[in-house]
């Protein structure tokens, strides 16, 4: 979860989470018709909610994407089907492909930084003494728990061009050109702030899980590796990584999915600006659909985004399902 979205982004089920249902016949008192329908009755609210609140909007998105639906049609409640026009327009437009490419690059940069940073911080936690570990944990928890609507606002302030503390700090370091630098004036610097914000908020989750994973590795394994003369790098590649491999795989994909569909941070920092140059696919769909009131076009972009996510998710599920012997 999310995390978020992002989900809250912290609403993460650990990778390969899954208490497995203990199998075998349930202790059913009688085998009457009631006990046969009981499970379905218990599931009914969940299934109903999923159908009405998730499946319906998804279907509606698909239906809208085949319609010519702009401000006029919206007000007059007109339904004008236009077949594949929205898709044709998107797939032949440079803007869509630019945004898609930007989304992929954005996701890649974030996930690499999150996974590398999180793993390193986790390794560090494992190595620190009690006091320092507590100190670092507190810092990590603060960043982790910070609601990202609030942290987005704070980052805007940190990187403010006139009174922002970051510009002041860079100036103090001797980089005087940065004294009143406008971070939101160019594509790369805006992305820098957004990536920093997301990485800052996402590392704690990976770090804590890496640390938790590290504590499960038996000490003997390290000792044996040391005896065989393995250095720190060797220990990581030969002992730690193989033990935590399922965790790394699952977490990487979770992060890919979360970052790819991340909306709030990207949108709230600069609304996709300057000049729509920091729009990722979800923001693009939002700006086109809701902002510019081209609802049909927006829905088509949404569907294309969902298709890409679906591809990523299939891969993720293959990994997770392989880990779980049984659901």
């Amino acid at each position: 979860m999310a995390v978020q979205s992002e989900p809250a982004r912290v609403t993460a089920p650990g990778p390969g989470t899954g208490g497995d249902a203990p199998e075998g016949p349930a202790p059913v008192a009688g085998r009457g018709p009631l006990s046969r329908t009981a499970p379905y009755l218990l599931l009914l609210p969940a299934v109903a909610a999923t159908l009405v609140l998730l499946v319906w909007p998804l279907t509606e998105t698909l239906l809208l994407s085949f319609q010519n639906l702009n401000k006029r049609q919206l007000i007059l409640h007109l339904t004008e089907w236009n077949g594949l026009d929205n898709y044709r327009a998107q797939l032949t437009s440079g803007e869509f492909w630019h945004t898609a490419g930007r989304s992929v690059a954005f996701t890649a940069v974030n996930v690499v930084l999150i996974m590398a940073g999180g793993t390193l911080v986790g390794l560090l936690l494992n190595r620190l003494g009690g006091t320092m570990r507590l100190l670092l944990s507190i810092g990590l928890i603060l960043a982790w728990a910070m609601p990202f609507v609030a942290s987005t606002t704070v980052y805007t302030w940190l990187f403010d061009s006139r009174y922002g503390v970051v510009d002041w700090f860079l100036d103090q370091l001797g980089w005087h050109g940065m004294a009143t630098y406008d971070w939101y004036g160019s594509q790369l610097s805006t992305f820098f702030v957004i990536v920093l914000l997301i990485v800052w908020g996402s590392i704690p989750f990976v770090a804590f899980n890496t640390y938790a994973g590290l504590t499960t590795i038996p000490k003997e394994l390290y000792e044996a590796a040391r005896m065989d003369g393995a250095g720190a790098t060797k220990v990581f590649t030969q002992v730690i990584f193989p033990s935590l491999r399922p965790f790394f795989l699952a977490t990487t994909f979770l992060e890919v999915i979360w970052v790819f569909k991340c909306f709030t941070q990207v949108f709230a920092i600069n609304a996709g600006g300057p000049e729509r140059l920091t729009e990722t696919l979800p923001v693009y769909a939002f700006v086109e659909g809701i902002g510019n009131q081209h609802y049909g076009t927006g829905a088509a972009i949404a569907v294309l985004t969902i298709v890409m996510l679906g591809g990523l998710m299939t891969y993720y599920f293959r990994i997770v399902l392989r880990q779980e012997e049984e659901l």
Binding site: A21, A49, L54, L63, M132, W157
Partner: protein, 279 residues
């Protein structure tokens, strides 16, 4: 094994640098909120707000309909979390304790629903809610937030329930409990950490949600159905460069979550992994 002082010192030094990196934005948010305006816009940043003021907080809370939005956020979040806990408990019980056709399919759907692309579904949800004449209302917002946190809640509770040995329940039933009684008396108390961690994460998700409320509840008049994320993100536009008030607003928004998290972190996160890892 050779270990110089330097060799032992560097992890601690790195830890301090990282602590500053992770904690500083939070520190800066809180201190800016308490600083006087002239300290906020001074050429040299003031790192310790010795001459604190509460002026920014009164300006932030004095914003139009602030208390309405606090009420809205609390209502929507708590109702969504409570609703999803109820629905999820029923579903998780069925999935972990009963055998029936379609169980695997259900679990698979729940797994996928956890990654539902809510961020790009705002357009269709807007159309649905508008056609039902429910714009600017808390009801659809609560319903969709419930659905956003439901899959995760089911998934986590399922892990916790599976961890409760079935023998406990069976022996209660041998002693004459009915199945619902056995559930209420035996499983439910053992689920407490699970319920706590899932509600914590559900709370954060719903508390943070922006895109949907941005689209559905645009009306700002009396009786507005807007929530705090909207109030916070609109602050800069409303107050211009009033960073003191903006940071006071951000602090007010974040502090409940930070406090809950710091208190429950051990239990909740421990509980989360217990529930997750237990086979």
């Amino acid at each position: 094994m050779r270990r110089s002082v330097l060799g032992r010192g560097w992890p601690n030094a790195v830890a301090v640098v990282l602590f500053v990196f992770f904690a500083f934005p939070v520190y800066w948010m809180v201190t800016t909120a308490f600083k006087q305006d002239r300290d906020i816009i001074s050429r040299t940043p003031v790192f310790l707000p010795l001459h604190g003021t509460l002026e920014h907080f009164s300006r932030a809370t004095g914003a139009d309909r602030f208390w309405t939005m606090v009420g809205n956020s609390l209502t929507v979040t708590l109702a969504a979390v409570a609703g999803s806990l109820l629905i999820a408990t029923l579903a998780a019980f069925a999935v972990t304790r009963m055998r029936f056709r379609g169980r695997k399919a259900f679990v698979l759907v729940i797994m996928m629903a956890q990654m539902a692309p809510w961020e790009v579904m705002t357009i269709s949800i807007y159309m649905i809610v508008r056609d039902d004449g429910m714009l600017n209302s808390l009801v659809p917002l609560t319903a969709f937030y419930l659905m956003m946190v439901l899959p995760f809640t089911i998934w986590t509770l399922r892990g916790f329930m599976a961890a409760v040995p079935k023998e406990l329940e069976e022996s209660a039933m041998v002693d004459g409990c009915t199945r619902p009684q056995a559930f209420v008396r035996i499983i439910f108390p053992l689920l407490a950490p699970g319920l706590m961690s899932t509600s914590l994460f559900g709370f954060i998700t719903a508390w943070n949600e922006l895109p949907l409320v941005l689209v559905l509840n645009k009306a700002t008049g009396p009786g507005t159905a807007q929530t705090l994320p909207l109030w916070l993100t609109s602050f800069q536009t409303t107050f211009g460069d009033d960073w003191g008030a903006t940071m006071a607003a951000a602090t007010l928004f974040a502090v409940p979550v930070l406090i809950i998290f710091l208190i429950f972190q051990r239990k909740a996160v421990g509980g989360l992994t217990d529930g997750a890892v237990k086979g």
